[in-house]
């Protein structure tokens, strides 16, 4: 799955869940500031990720993620790991 495909899949959910304008979600934008995430919003974000991509998010996974681009990279890495495990 490419980062563009990941973005296309998840952005509609982010727009609906966090009630923000689609145009604000660009790769270089800050994830936390754009989505105005508080600690409970992270729970919503995890639910959106897990239900859309089927992997379990671990506590601390988001600590080093600043931008949407880094977020897509993280999701892509998790999906690739999942595929490798299922292929072995």
């Amino acid at each position: 799955m490419t980062q563009i495909e990941i973005a296309e899949k998840i952005i509609p959910f982010l727009v609906e869940e966090f009630e923000i304008e689609r145009e604000l979600i660009v790769p270089e934008a800050n994830l936390r500031d754009t989505l105005q995430l508080d600690s409970l919003d992270y729970v919503d974000l995890v639910v959106v990720i897990e239900s859309n991509f089927g992997f379990k998010v671990k506590q601390g996974d988001f600590q080093n993620l600043a931008t949407f681009e880094e977020f897509y990279t993280y999701v892509q890495g998790k999906i690739n790991n999942q595929e490798e495990v299922s292929n072995n």
């Binding site: 992270y42 995890v46 897990e50 506590q59």
Partner: protein
């Protein structure tokens, strides 16, 4: 577990007059059902009806009872839980004094220290309320 009368105070941290469930009637790893009869002297009753905060507390205590019961049977310490958020709350009607509520909660997800449950309150054939509740579990 079928209809079983349990001493409810063994499983929940609340004490009178804030107890809003009478008994656990069914329980599994991810679901619990409690019953509660609305009494006239209930703290949340006004003009013969159980008010919204009482219904929400009833759902929350059903969650607590499930967690408490599961911990007890495993001989574990019961962890305290706090309502972190309530989403999509619908209260369709207020139950009256004498009504028996059947409240079921189903764990739908666990994210870090937060347990997400779907709760539903039924009275006879009427749906009283439903919501998604997020409970922060201390020490998870």
């Amino acid at each position: 577990m079928n209809e079983t009368h349990l001493h409810i105070q063994e499983y929940i941290p609340q004490r009178p007059p804030i107890i809003m469930i009478d008994k656990i009637v069914d329980i599994s790893e991810s679901k619990v059902v409690c019953e509660f009869q609305v009494k006239r002297d209930n703290l949340f009753v006004a003009e013969g009806e159980l008010l919204e905060p009482g219904i929400i507390e009833n759902i929350a205590q059903t969650i607590a009872a499930g967690a408490g019961y599961r911990a007890k049977v495993k001989n574990e310490k019961v962890k305290l839980g706090y309502i972190a958020a309530i989403k999509n709350l619908n209260i369709h009607t207020l139950p009256s004094v004498g009504d028996v509520l059947s409240t079921s909660v189903q764990i739908v997800n666990e994210v870090f220290s937060v347990t997400i449950v779907q709760g539903e309150v039924i009275c006879g054939s009427r749906k009283i309320a439903d919501c998604e509740m997020r409970i922060y579990i201390e020490g998870n």
